[in-house]
């Protein structure tokens, strides 16, 4: 089966391409960029997708999602998570290890990959835990998880509070060339906080998580990356101070990369004023200055990647007292339109944005995706960046309807998502 995508504006930052072109896909791979397609179009075994007026880009890669399987299938499964990804234009997702059991050994990694192969419609790349059970006490069997297919290690959801253990994790992982992904949070400073510490938490009488909680740990992990030479990736950067620390570290040549989520650059903590648990997330939605700093960090390259931190939860779990609700926002199906707002606001150009959603995340975890080079696996997204869409959580493919963006009017609509040459979603 062959697919011809004709007449779209092809944006492929991996080749610095931004031009109107046709793309021919054959045997699941990018075959060529044919100039003359008159003959091709008429052939019988070819599916023609008219992309005129739309963007054609490498399939998006989400470096940070929670697929919840095994263990929390009422929140999400690999099947539904992949369907949500495809609907959001993502052809690859990187799933965090805080499942039950925790992905802290090769058998869990293999289970996830098996499920993904049989039920998932997009590519799934698992991240293994740094420590057994994400308890921060002893190293997990990182080598075997790498062998089984893990593309990074993280205790996401939890920081490794013991600095010596974090040092050893960074040293140990150098043998496998995969990054240590840091959920940077000092739990003592967070002190069971449930939202950003500031005027809003003061008014609401909710326990605040200060910016320093993140910044202290970003600072520690940068120091340890300098000591060990390991590749440190800072997950979900939320504060101005963290952006500054990463910028300085990069200037010094430290091997550090970073990601930011759409909710952290689209909202301020005022969103919590009605005790909306759908806006309860960790790290918390911060203040205006932090939002500006994240945008600045995206613009100047301090922040390499936009990742959603897709964290689905069931309706019942969120319809409780604010203190009791779990942290997390269902992000896969709003990620692209929220990110496109950065282009509208002049923070990024469209090619710069696509870069942060394709080739940059691919490089960080060392996978051969995020490109439309001839011969590459044909993961492609076609979207209309200007079409207005009203966010309706009831229409989410994800089981997680927990979004603070319900009812928002956004621009950007995914038209087709193609994984390995096969159309897996059409909007």
């Amino acid at each position: 089966m062959r697919v011809l995508i004709k007449g779209g504006r092809v944006i492929d930052p991996s080749q610095e391409i931004d031009q109107t072109a046709n793309i021919l896909i054959e045997d699941g791979k990018v075959k060529s960029f044919p100039k003359d397609i008159k003959k091709l179009e008429k052939e019988s075994d070819i599916q023609v997708i008219d992309a005129r007026g739309n963007i054609v880009a490498p399939g998006l890669i989400d470096l940070h999602v929670h697929l919840r399987e095994p263990g929390f299938e009422h929140k999400e499964t690999i099947r539904t998570g992949c369907e949500a990804a495809a609907a959001g234009g993502f052809t690859s997702v990187v799933c965090m290890p805080n499942t039950n059991p925790v992905n802290d050994n090769a058998s869990v990694t293999e289970y996830i990959l098996l499920k993904a192969r049989t039920e998932g419609i997009v590519n799934v790349f698992p991240v293994g835990a740094i420590t057994k059970g994400e308890k921060g006490e002893i190293l997990a069997e990182i080598g075997e998880m790498w062998e089984a297919g893990c593309v990074g290690i993280s205790d996401d959801g939890w920081p490794v509070m013991n600095s010596k253990l974090m040092r050893h994790a960074m040293e140990y992982v150098k043998a496998y060339g995969i990054p240590v992904i840091s959920h940077a949070e000092d739990l003592n400073l967070s002190a069971h906080g449930v939202m950003n510490e500031g005027f809003t938490s003061t008014i609401l009488g909710l326990r605040g998580i200060p910016n320093a909680s993140e910044e202290v740990m970003v600072s520690r992990d940068i120091t340890l990356a300098e000591l060990t030479g390991a590749h440190l990736h800072i997950a979900h950067v939320s504060t101005a101070g963290a952006v500054r620390l990463i910028r300085d570290a990069k200037k010094r040549g430290v091997n550090v990369t970073a990601e930011a989520t759409p909710h952290h650059f689209s909202l301020t903590d005022k969103v919590v004023l009605s005790y909306d648990t759908n806006a309860k997330v960790n790290p918390p939605i911060r203040g205006e200055k932090d939002v500006e700093a994240i945008k600045e960090g995206l613009k100047d390259g301090t922040i390499d990647v936009i990742a959603t931190d897709h964290a689905p939860h069931s309706e019942d779990e969120k319809k409780v007292e604010f203190d009791l609700a779990p942290f997390g926002i269902s992000g896969l199906e709003t990620g692209l339109p929220l990110s496109l707002q950065l282009v509208k606001d002049g923070v990024l150009t469209l090619p710069e944005l696509v870069k942060k959603l394709t080739v940059n995340p691919a490089k960080i975890i060392g996978i051969d995706r995020g490109t439309l080079k001839t011969g590459a696996i044909a993961d492609v997204v076609i979207f209309d960046p200007d079409k207005s869409v009203k966010v309706d959580r009831e229409k989410f493919r994800s089981k997680g309807k927990n979004t603070p963006f319900h009812g928002w009017e956004l621009s950007g609509c995914v038209l087709h998502t193609i994984v390995g040459g096969k159309v897996v979603f059409s909007g």
Binding site: I203, L204, G205, E321, D323
Partner: protein, 309 residues
């Protein structure tokens, strides 16, 4: 004036006019409380549930008396004797009570924002009887009522609130209330007990009790919670009391006719020296008595809108 609010969740949500309407209505209610037969039929046929998830004698009793004086049908719900211990959610518990005919739910809960959840999901009118560290509107309204009764006017008064502002719902409600009615509000306590950016509520922050007390018309002492010891917020009750405890000597820095208030219960010898505690006992009892009138006004207004007052 008709009261348009369906719920009373906090003083932040009320305008100065609405606060004054509650206080004026409370004056009429006080008159009811002074009759031989302390009962009016205003809420006859209305079922009010007191849903108290936190132990409370004063506030719960006060609401119950207020409800009965208005002739409401009253149901007291105590979570230890209920399905909550079996793991039922707050929302399910409240929905059950609503299905039994409750139209006003008075809720006290240890977690900030719990009344908001009910207000969003239920049809009943919700009255916040204290939620976490957020608000305690009935306490602030009775403080305002008591001060207004004595001082005639709130506008221009210097009001000092002393103690653990960070964890105090009484403080937050009082700040909104006094500021909205035109008073100057000063907060004083150790810096560890001052919430972040609290100055943005248009208050002045002091770390010295002596400085804060200068020229004060009203002093509201907050109860220091014993369990905060060892939390790193202050070294010892002894030291706290030395710097932030109210003594007769310190009180002399305030205006001669200063009103001293306390939401109770008092820790004698900690936030108030024993002699001061004895001095102020009468005002504290006035607060308690006024509490009933103020709560009658709140319930009456949310249940009926007050149109036929």
């Amino acid at each position: 004036m008709v009261f348009k609010q369906k719920h009373i969740l906090g003083l932040k949500e009320l305008t100065a006019e609405e606060i004054n309407l509650i206080l004026d209505t409370a004056e009429s209610m006080k008159e009811v409380s002074q009759r031989d037969v302390k009962k009016v039929p205003a809420l006859r046929g209305v079922t009010v549930v007191n849903l108290f998830f936190e132990p409370s004698t004063r506030t719960r009793s006060s609401f119950e008396i207020a409800e009965k004086r208005l002739s409401a049908d009253v149901l007291n719900f105590t979570p230890t004797q209920s399905s909550v211990v079996k793991g039922e959610t707050l929302l399910d518990t409240a929905r059950n009570l609503e299905a039994m005919g409750a139209t006003v739910i008075v809720i006290r809960h240890a977690m900030s924002g719990a009344p908001w959840l009910l207000a969003r999901e239920l049809d009943s009118s919700i009255v916040n009887a204290g939620d976490g560290s957020h608000e305690h509107p009935s306490q602030a309204l009775l403080d305002l009522f008591t001060v207004r009764e004595v001082k005639k006017e709130i506008q221009g008064l210097k009001v000092v609130i002393v103690g653990d502002i960070l964890h105090s719902r009484v403080a937050r409600s009082n700040i909104w209330g006094f500021i909205k009615l035109g008073a100057e509000v000063r907060l004083v306590g150790p810096p560890t007990m001052m919430p972040q950016d609290v100055e943005k509520m248009d208050v002045k922050v002091y770390y010295s009790l002596e400085q804060a007390l200068k020229g004060a018309d009203v002093v509201i002492m907050l109860r220091i919670q014993m369990e905060r010891q060892g939390s790193g917020l202050f070294p010892s009750l002894r030291e706290y009391s030395r710097f932030y405890g109210l003594t007769r000597e310190r009180l002399r820095l305030a205006k001669e006719d200063v009103m001293l208030m306390h939401p109770g219960p008092i820790n004698r010898g900690v936030e108030l020296s024993s002699e001061v505690a004895d001095d102020v006992h009468s005002v504290i009892l006035d607060q308690v008595t006024n509490g009933i009138s103020v709560r009658m006004a709140m319930l009456y207004l949310v249940a009926t809108g007050g149109g036929n007052a």
